[in-house]
């Protein structure tokens, strides 16, 4: 199996570590070896947070620039900040309400590198379902709706069900499903 690199980003407190955990647990179930890198400490107090996940037989935990086919951003600006990680032909998934996404200045770059940008109001989906802190699950659901996603929808859904604490399970799944539906509509 060749290596699959994923970069996840956003702001401290948005649940980037949990989102990474879902992808990691799901991949473990599919027989991948995995290595990831997390941000802890001071940056968790609202600063920029990045998490790397590498599936395959690798030694190092960090993704090199230009080598991630998948970038998931829980905040639009953090998505732009991490653009150097995206590989040619990669996919950029961003949680944003902005109708102007992706902003003008990055469009020619994305086109040149054949990167497909996709956005979803994950924060709003989560808020409408009464869990404003769960935009991470809406974004995962959205991402899993596309054929080209390296993560299988059913596998992610089963994983979320398995690792969510009992009192959050139903809510988490409903937010994941709502994100998935938003993706299916595209």
């Amino acid at each position: 199996m060749s290596t699959i690199n994923v970069v996840l980003c956003g702001l401290g407190g948005q649940g980037i570590l949990f989102m990474t955990k879902v992808l990691a647990q799901a991949s473990l179930g599919r027989g991948y070896n995995l290595m990831g890198a997390e941000t802890h400490g001071m940056a968790q107090r609202g600063g920029s947070v990045v998490s790397h996940l590498r599936l395959g037989n690798v030694q190092g935990s960090l993704v090199k620039t230009n080598e991630a086919p998948l970038l998931l951003a829980l905040e639009e600006n953090e998505g732009y900040r991490n653009l150097p990680f995206l590989a040619r032909g990669g996919r950029l998934y961003v949680n944003t309400m902005s109708p102007l996404f992706p902003r003008e200045e990055v469009r020619s770059f994305l086109a040149k590198k054949q990167i497909i940008p996709r956005s979803v109001p994950a924060g709003k989906i989560a808020l409408d379902l009464g869990a404003p802190m769960s935009s991470n699950l809406a974004l995962l659901g959205f991402c899993s709706a596309f054929e080209d996603s390296p993560f299988d929808h059913e596998n992610l859904r089963e994983t979320i069900g398995r690792i969510s604490p009992d009192r959050f399970r139903d809510k988490n799944l409903s937010i994941f499903d709502a994100g998935y539906l938003a993706g299916k509509k595209e």
């Binding site: 955990k21 997390e38 400490g41 940056a43 190092g60 935990s61 960090l62 770059f109």
Partner: protein, 620 residues
């Protein structure tokens, strides 16, 4: 039965220690080491082990405790961050001479970057200074195995051994398979030997000789330590370029070369770099015309290599002298070295265009801030308002972020809020200048190293206001209990230590305890404290600002929720945004006015007290 878990590097280290029969683990939290002890506790509970654990009050205390256990024959470990080892250095240097009985492993976690530390210092140099062996893992699985090796080596050679994982090992995650862990039932036995355990200088010379002998033997062992010190030279072949690497940079280099199938460049991995495996390194050097050394964070291997003419690295300007060696940095420097050696470069895709594009976007810098509802914010607001001309000495913890509110001027090391306050006092007093000084320190940091400074300040007649920000936890590093709560590392009940009693015991006569959410009260007490330090019989005034951390105590921390809004009285002066800096108060671009972000707001209600126009009000 074998099971598989996705472990944090720190969890893998915990696993390795327990698999090696570690019976005592002590620690003081600090990024990136903080999760080791909690992971030990988790495994001790799930595997029904008998290992004793404690959050010690500081790193020196932790190491002394673990050392004592070791010389009763038990296997012990002590975990800290790299700057914590500075605090424990006194203990380490002496313990190296005295030696151990049971294994003693010191885990000191480095922070190249730095991401969450004062310095980028390299623990391997501390090992060299103390003359103890050091192991440098490349990933979690290796860190787990090295924890076991460190324990074995320590016990065999009767010497403390340091395991030095860098942040990318500590906070990496990897799938790791493990079996059930047996209980180590070894009993304590202390054999008196004053010439060793209480050695005077005459005996210390003898112990130093013993230590040197041990190092020599361990160096030879490291020459043949094929699991962690190895190269892939083909016999008889010579190469224009070879690479020597250890720790995280080895992992990066291995991945880069493997991805491009570059079998033409041999690599010597040094996972056990000190005592230096001289013979192995010489063998490698002889086969290569030039050798590139890539190591974190400093130049240990580079210094220890004999033939300097062949060596490329930090000293030759080929490797950056500061900052983390992330893959793209290693990729670039490797390409330069390959070109200079007339070898084909790796030629990965350039990231320059993307990096320049991101720069041109001028994205907002996300500086870390205190959480909405954080009691420290209320304290800092009152301090800044009441004592605008003061020098604000502060300390290490979440509250360093008080600098965003203009209420933190200095942050040197653990405990320096107090020692620098007394230093400032005497420097100005010498000139006859009455300089107001307000020091802030958190509860855990005060227990760590506040008392010695406070005793000194009282004894030597300093005058300043000290605010102890008591949020009843060690917040920045992940909510470890502090002694004020009386809860111990494993959740069991311990003795609560009263801050008030310690402060009184240090000779302070002015002590006020209050809830900083009440800004009016805090302001009054700060004024009273200012008067007290001016009095002829005055001295140091201590205010204990006590309110629980919102992350640690959640609902309990705000018993009376107050929903707030901004009224039309608002003149857009942005005093609240600039001086209170709550993430929930913001200028809404679309509305063109100051507003409250209901998702972020904790409903603490503190901001009701701050608006000069009274435009922040409670929603009825």
């Amino acid at each position: 039965m074998k099971r598989q878990e996705i472990l944090l590097g720190n969890g893998a280290i915990a696993l390795g220690l327990l698999e090696a029969g570690c019976q005592v683990v002590t620690s003081y939290p600090g990024t990136p080491s903080s999760e080791i002890l909690p992971e030990v506790i988790r495994l001790v509970k799930s595997e029904n082990l008998n290992t004793y654990v404690e959050w010690s009050t500081n790193e020196k205390v932790a190491l002394d405790n673990a050392f004592a256990a070791s010389i009763t024959g038990k296997r012990a470990a002590c975990c800290m961050k790299q700057v914590g080892l500075n605090v424990a250095a006194d203990s380490l240097m002496s313990a190296a001479y005295m030696g151990t009985v049971g294994g003693l492993v010191i885990i000191s976690c480095d922070d190249p970057g730095p991401h969450s530390s004062q310095t980028e210092q390299d623990t391997r140099f501390m090992a060299r200074l103390a003359k103890v062996p050091v192991l440098d893992p490349s990933n979690p699985e290796e860190a787990r195995k090295m924890a076991g090796l460190a324990m074995e080596l320590s016990e065999e050679f009767r010497i403390p051994v340091i395991l030095r994982p860098a942040i990318r090992v500590c906070h990496a995650r990897q799938n790791i398979a493990f079996d059930s862990i047996p209980v180590n039932t070894k009993k304590s036995a202390f054999e008196k030997d004053p010439s060793r355990w209480a050695a005077t200088p005459r005996f210390r010379l003898i112990l130093h000789g013993e230590l040197n002998k041990k190092l020599k033997e361990i160096g030879k062992r490291f020459d043949a330590l094929a699991a962690y010190n190895f190269h892939n030279l083909e016999p008889g072949r010579t190469y224009p370029l070879g690479i020597i690497a250890g720790g995280v940079p080895y992992a990066v280099i291995r991945d880069l070369l493997d991805e491009k199938n570059r079998t033409d460049i041999p690599v010597l991995k040094l996972g056990a770099p000190y005592p230096f495996p001289e013979a192995l390194a010489s063998e490698f050097m002889e086969a290569c015309a030039k050798v590139l050394v890539v190591e974190e964070t400093d130049t240990l291997i580079e210094y220890l290599l004999g033939d300097r003419n062949k060596v490329l690295g930090r000293l030759s300007g080929h490797v950056p002298l500061e900052g983390e060696l992330v893959p793209q940095v290693i990729d670039r420097l490797l390409d330069r070295v390959l070109r200079e050696a007339s070898l084909p470069p790796l030629a990965g895709e350039e990231d320059t265009e993307a990096v320049e594009l991101v720069k041109s976007l001028q994205l907002p810098v996300r500086r870390p801030t205190l959480c909405p509802g954080c009691p420290h914010r209320a304290s800092f607001f009152a301090i800044r308002k009441t004592k605008p001309k003061a020098i604000f000495t502060s300390d290490i913890g979440c509250y360093t972020l008080g600098m965003n509110l203009g209420a933190v001027d200095t942050c040197l090391d653990m405990g320096a809020a107090i020692t620098m306050a007394s230093g400032f006092y005497h420097a100005f007093a010498q000139d006859g200048v009455d300089q107001p000084i307000v020091a802030t320190i958190g509860d855990s940091t005060f227990y760590h190293s506040g008392t010695a400074g406070l005793l000194n300040a009282v004894y030597n007649g300093s005058r300043f206001i000290l605010v102890i920000l008591d949020n009843l936890t060690t917040a920045m590093t992940g909510m470890q209990p502090s002694p004020s709560m009386g809860i111990r590392a494993d959740g069991s009940e311990g003795r609560a230590i009263s801050l008030e009693r310690i402060v009184a015991g240090c000779g302070v006569d002015f002590i006020e305890v209050l809830d900083p959410y009440d800004i009016k009260k805090m302001t009054e007490v700060l004024k009273k404290a200012s008067e007290y330090i001016q009095e002829p019989e005055g001295g140091i005034a201590v205010i204990i600002a006590r309110h629980p951390c919102l992350i640690a105590y959640r609902a309990e921390a705000i018993p009376e929720k107050k929903k707030v809004t901004v009224t039309d009285e608002c003149t857009e002066c942005h005093f609240c945004i600039d001086r209170f800096e709550c993430p929930a108060i913001y200028h809404d671009q679309e509305l063109g006015r100051t507003a409250i972000n209901a998702q972020l707001c904790s409903s603490c209600g503190v901001c009701l007290q701050i608006c000069p126009k009274g435009a922040i009000v409670e929603v009825a």
